[in-house]
Amino acid sequence: MTGYKRALTKTYHQPLGDKLWRNFVIGIPYFWLLLFFLAPFAIVFKISFASPIVAQPPFTPLFDFSSNASQWLLATWDNYRFLTEDNLYWVSYFKSIKIAAISTLICLLIGYPMAYGIARATPTTRNILLMLVILPFWTSFLLRVYAWMGLLGKNGIVNSLLMNVGLIDSPLQMLYTDMAVYLGIVYTYIPFMILPLYATLEKMDLSLHDAAADLGAKPWQTFIDVTLPLSIPGIVAGSLLVFIPAIGEYVIPALLGGIDSLMIGRTLYDEFFVNRDWPLASAVATILLIIVVIPIMLFQRSQQEQE
């Protein structure tokens, strides 16, 4: 540990001002995240056991301590029972996981050679290419999804191009299909895959490759035996950065998917805004949270290993 860190971490014989400063720097952001990020999950969990009513807010209290109440605990399993009985929710969860997993794989297959190419380019080219990957990441996610609506629609650019060339006679149904959802997810999330992959590939010690080549390994052998295993941290980080948010994706299925494209994020959103069933939406969210909690812990670990 460096001297500076030691001075900061020494809690005994520390002047009061230093202690206050330390508590302040740690405490304020910690408190904020506990209050506005962690505590809200407990409230979602609580409300998932309530019943919906027409009132403001639209759910029943869980406890009733008034003297004429027959029982004080009003919690109910009804929302979860409903989730297990209605096929719609199971289908939504499975389909979301499937779509997110396949999209992650496609991102990896396209992103890996790109990250590899960028990492092996000359420094100037590398900076330009990196900039080109980061630029879409900064521009509006919503508008990049929207761009595909203009391309894929019935009167869209792809259809009119294909018809002008004479490949098809009538427009293909491309927008509002599962294929469009895959395309949208891969398109918007691929920078999240490329950047961590690039980071590990760029740091890689190239003398290992020379050694492998000297020992007679073919380029593809070197890739399989040296490059690929060494880039696993980047693969894990990139895949989790795509997979976890994609499971709960709402905007892409809502804009590019068909009415029957049941992804759980969209189901939750509609349950909340269209049906106004807050307790059921909370139950849907609780199960989704249980599904993503282990991938999120893996992601946290991969982040710490990079430190």
Binding site: P29, Y30, I43, Y250
Partner: protein, 270 residues
């Protein structure tokens, strides 16, 4: 060129074409005279004029800019403190949970964050009467919460790759931790705080799902207005709006990275 480098080269070409063609097509068609989005009817700025006469969009843009600037500023302050707490403060109780609280917002599905924050606001209102109503204020709090995690990651990576010797020297000369932070550390990490601010600003400007959950009846941000229009299909005035937003952001990012690039070069020379 060998077989493998030819493969990598074509992958790069394909990848960048995939990333950029949709955006370029969108930009080109925003200058289309025709209202039918796939037929080119000649160059025109009519959709831009229509846009500037659309009061709903102007109002929503101003609201979004206000929320983005406020939330980015608070997120930078809190995120920088979090970055310091994760790299410079050694061990303390609850540090592991803290790292989790910073990592989780980066990947948490937006519908969960949005719903849970809304229910938090509703419960707080019942308990302590605050927040009085939902709107710009609650959206700002929500945006601070998820974008401070991004700022923390940016600042943290700068702090952990930084040479600690200046700070050590300042401590050896009797500087107090707070003094050292303000006089040495913060000026050194100022560029990453600026990128953190810009990242938080664009994240806030772009957010639809979390804003929809945490907003009340009155406040509609720009993404909310755009979404309600494009749900029904492609409209040329949104093409114009998209071109303006993408153009502004791209120029801003290119300018910022050019300035940083020059500064890096000067630092290396000096």
């Amino acid at each position: 060129m060998g077989n493998s480098s030819r493969f990598v080269f074509s992958a790069l070409c394909f990848g960048f074409a995939f990333l950029y063609i949709p955006i370029l097509v969108l930009i080109a068609f925003s200058f289309n005279e025709s209202a039918i989005t796939s037929v080119w009817g000649g160059f025109s700025l009519r959709w831009y004029t229509a846009l500037f006469n659309n009061e709903q969009i102007i109002e929503a843009t101003l609201l979004s800019l206000k929320i983005a600037a406020t939330s980015a500023t608070f997120a930078t302050i809190l995120g920088t403190m979090a970055g310091l707490a994760l790299t410079q403060m050694g061990r303390y109780r609850g540090r592991l949970i803290f790292t989790g609280l910073i990592a989780a917002p980066l990947v948490m599905p937006e519908v969960i964050t949005g719903l849970s924050l809304l229910l938090m606001f509703v419960s707080l209102q019942e308990l302590i009467g605050w927040p009085l109503s939902r709107g710009a204020g609650t959206i700002t709090i929500a945006h601070i919460t998820f974008s401070m995690a991004y700022v923390a990651v940016v600042v943290q990576s700068r702090l952990s790759s930084m040479d600690q010797s200046l700070q050590e020297a300042a401590m050896d000369l009797g500087g107090r931790p707070m003094q050292v932070a303000f006089d040495i550390t913060l000026p050194l990490i100022a560029p990453s705080m600026l990128s953190g601010w810009l990242l938080a600003f664009t994240l806030s400007l772009d957010d639809l799902v979390i804003a929809s959950f945490t907003s009340g009846a009155g406040a509609s941000t720009l993404p909310m207005v755009i979404f309600s229009k494009i749900k029904l299909g492609v409209t040329p005035d949104i093409n114009a709006l998209a071109t303006l937003i993408i153009g502004t952001v791209s120029i801003g990012i290119l300018l910022a990275s050019w300035i940083m690039f020059r500064q890096n070069k000067r630092n290396k020379v000096g």
